[in-house]
């Protein structure tokens, strides 16, 4: 018995009952399609988080004050003020792996222009902040080091602030706004950056020289944050080490003391977020995988019914010369044909639905080749695995009894 003949026989047998073959296939189709679509959603969200983070500057380093011990009681990070302009200067001077550095003094308050006002945040930074955040100006000019030295009352506006203070589309550049009753001249407009991956509106901000914010608004010499940029993404770890040792020196910490600051790199954040979306991918894939197994059980179920229903046919085939192995192969090939055809349709459907999800829901999706290959391999295996048992049952029938089966 050659295999080509068996494939013809199996194909004809399936052709005789197209609807049933299709319904059996449906389980596999849905299984494969959902695996591919789910993995695409998982991978897509992972990729979009990563690209969003690297658009924020993947070599960005954030330095924050950390808890330290004051008289035996540990204080939370936000209550402690340890970062000063001396730290910034020391890092700028000594750290070879740092290309740019900017302190940030943050205050929230009410911004006012004419009759309109809007609650927002002012960030006191140095001119290099825009490089670190990879942020461009849409209009106007950035403030200069001279403005920092002079504590000039100039500012750059984020898009959300502009929408709320200048709703009629007038150009804010050159206008005077007030923040906590202090007048600032608008010298530039920031491009929209959208939401951060934490859902925070990055455009709801006013940027001003840090000296201005420190002296005129906060009346402090400390910074909430220091932002720095490593010379490259791969140098972030070296830069972190450098910054740590410099800050320990400037803060005069003894070797036994804990750090009174923390240094965070974007890479850490990326890996933390990626592991979350990896978990999401695993969960989605597991659910989809279960539906694939159910599809396989569907095949087994139908093949069983089919064997019983076609007992006479099996008896006839045996009486005209089919061997047990011929019958076994016929039913096995039928099962494999169902699962492979279903798999192919499922792959197409999965890719299509991933694209539809992106199109209609604007969720990012990424169809990976590995998920296609894997789910297709699984469903081919399903065909063999779940098809074998019914096929074996068919091949062991006694032709005499099978022929007389009613």
């Amino acid at each position: 018995m050659n295999i080509l003949n068996l494939i013809r026989i199996a194909f004809k047998a399936l052709q005789r009952n197209k609807l049933r073959a299709f319904l059996t296939m449906l389980g596999v189709i849905i299984g494969v399609a959902s695996v591919i679509a789910m993995v695409a959603i998982g991978q897509g969200s992972k990729q979009s988080i990563q690209s969003q983070l690297s658009s924020m500057g993947s070599n960005m380093i954030t330095i924050l004050p950390a808890s330290n011990i004051a008289g035996g009681a540990r204080l939370g990070g936000s209550t402690v003020q340890t970062l000063t302009i001396d730290d910034v200067k020391a890092i700028r001077k000594q750290a070879v792996n740092v290309s740019a550095i900017s302190p940030a003094a943050t205050s929230s308050g009410q911004s006012i222009f004419g009759a309109l006002n809007w609650p927002t945040t002012i960030q006191g930074v140095s001119p290099s902040y825009l490089d670190i955040r990879k942020w461009d100006l849409k209009d106007g000019i950035p403030f200069s080091d001279e403005d920092v030295r002079a504590s000039a009352k100039v500012c750059l506006l984020g898009q959300t602030v502009i929408t709320n203070l200048f709703p009629n589309g007038e150009n804010p550049v050159g206008k005077i706004i007030r923040f906590n009753n202090i007048p600032f001249q608008v010298i530039g407009v920031l491009v929209a950056k959208g939401q951060s991956s934490f859902g925070q509106d990055q455009d709801d901000v006013i940027l001003a020289p840090y000296t201005t914010v420190q002296k005129r608004i906060l009346a402090t010499i400390y910074f909430r944050t220091i932002y720095a940029s490593a010379i490259s993404e791969s140098a972030s770890d070296d830069a972190t080490d450098e910054i740590t040792s410099i800050l320990r020196k400037t803060h005069r910490l003894r070797t036994t003391d804990e750090n009174d600051f923390q240094v965070r790199t974007m890479a850490e954040l990326i890996s933390a977020l990626s592991s979350t979306s990896n978990l999401l991918t695993i969960l989605l894939t597991a659910i989809a995988g279960i539906s694939l197994i159910i599809g396989g059980i569907g095949i087994m179920n139908i093949m069983y019914v089919s064997v019983t229903e076609r007992t006479r046919e099996i008896g006839l085939r045996m009486s005209i010369g089919a061997r047990g192995i011929d019958i076994l192969m016929q039913f096995l090939i039928e099962a494999i044909m169902i699962s492979i055809t279903g798999g192919l349709i499922g792959v197409v459907l999965g890719i299509t639905s991933a694209q539809l999800i992106t199109y209609f829901l604007s969720w990012p999706t990424l169809v990976s080749e590995s998920s296609i290959i894997l789910s297709f391999a699984v469903c081919a295996f399903t065909g063999v695995f779940f098809g074998y048992y019914p096929a074996q049952k068919a091949s062991r029938l006694d032709p005499i009894e099978a022929l007389r089966y009613e």
Binding site: R8, M318, S319, I320, G321, R323, G324
Partner: protein, 249 residues
């Protein structure tokens, strides 16, 4: 008429049913020569079906030797029996056993799928030839449900012929048909026997049908009680002509 196609020597077949042993065949011996048309008669319970299964190589005797075309089937395994059925026997069943939703041509081709020596083109040619032999050349693409009972049985006969077997084994082949149609089938079988020299073994319980054969073996209680040559074989064609014309009512 020279060659022995079937040789049965003291065939016994016993079944174990629970604690009882049922003896279906209690020593059956007879030979069938090539070109003979033998009917095997017997009431139900006579061992007719068991004998048929044995003759058809679907079952092996408990005792005794059965030679089909010189091959002793006693020493063969399941796969070898299947091959023997494929090459040497053509089955015709009472209920036709055609595959549903499969054209007449494809039904006739079926045995050839299990014969590795036959190519794709040969298969089709042989199947068409077999359907021509049963006068259904114009019904190649018809599905079984588009054919009458008699036509379906003729497709089944074509399927039995297609592998050029040494023997056609028919099991109550006219049992589901009315008199006129069963005479038509018998006329066809007689023609195959007389014109083409096919060896036919026909199992039936109707004496009417037995009259068309050249020899009748009668079984009772698992033994051959009568084995007679039919001196004047009735012609199915004449019997058909003698029937009153089909009435419209």
């Amino acid at each position: 008429m020279s060659k022995k196609i079937l040789e049965l020597q003291n065939i016994k077949r016993e079944f174990v049913m629970g604690t009882e042993i049922v003896r279906a065949l209690k020593g059956v011996s007879f030979d069938v020569m090539g070109g003979e048309f033998v009917t095997i008669m017997g009431s139900s319970g006579s061992g007719k079906t068991t004998l048929l299964n044995t003759l058809g190589c679907l079952d092996k005797p408990t005792e005794g030797t059965y030679l089909l075309d010189g091959v002793n089937i006693g020493g063969l395994n399941r796969n070898e029996l299947a091959r023997l059925r494929n090459r040497k026997i053509g089955f015709v069943f009472q209920s036709y056993n055609l595959l549903p939703r499969t054209s007449a041509l494809e039904n006739v081709e079926l045995p050839l799928f299990y014969n590795i020596e036959i190519s794709h083109e040969q298969r089709k040619q042989k199947a068409i030839k077999a359907l021509e032999a049963v006068k259904l050349a114009d019904r190649l693409d018809h599905m079984p449900n588009q054919l009458s009972g008699g036509q379906q049985q003729r497709v089944a006969i074509a399927r039995a012929l297609v592998n050029e077997p040494v023997m056609i084994l028919a099991d109550e082949a006219t049992g589901n048909l009315d008199t006129r149609t069963s005479y038509e089938i018998m006329a066809l079988i007689q023609e195959l026997n007389q014109v083409q020299g096919k060896t036919i073994v026909f199992v039936t319980h109707e004496p009417d049908i037995a009259a068309f054969s050249s020899r009748t073996v009668t079984l009772r209680d698992g033994k051959v009680v009568k084995d007679t040559l039919n001196e004047n074989v009735r012609s199915a064609k004449e019997a058909l002509a003698a029937l009153p014309p089909a009435e419209d009512y």
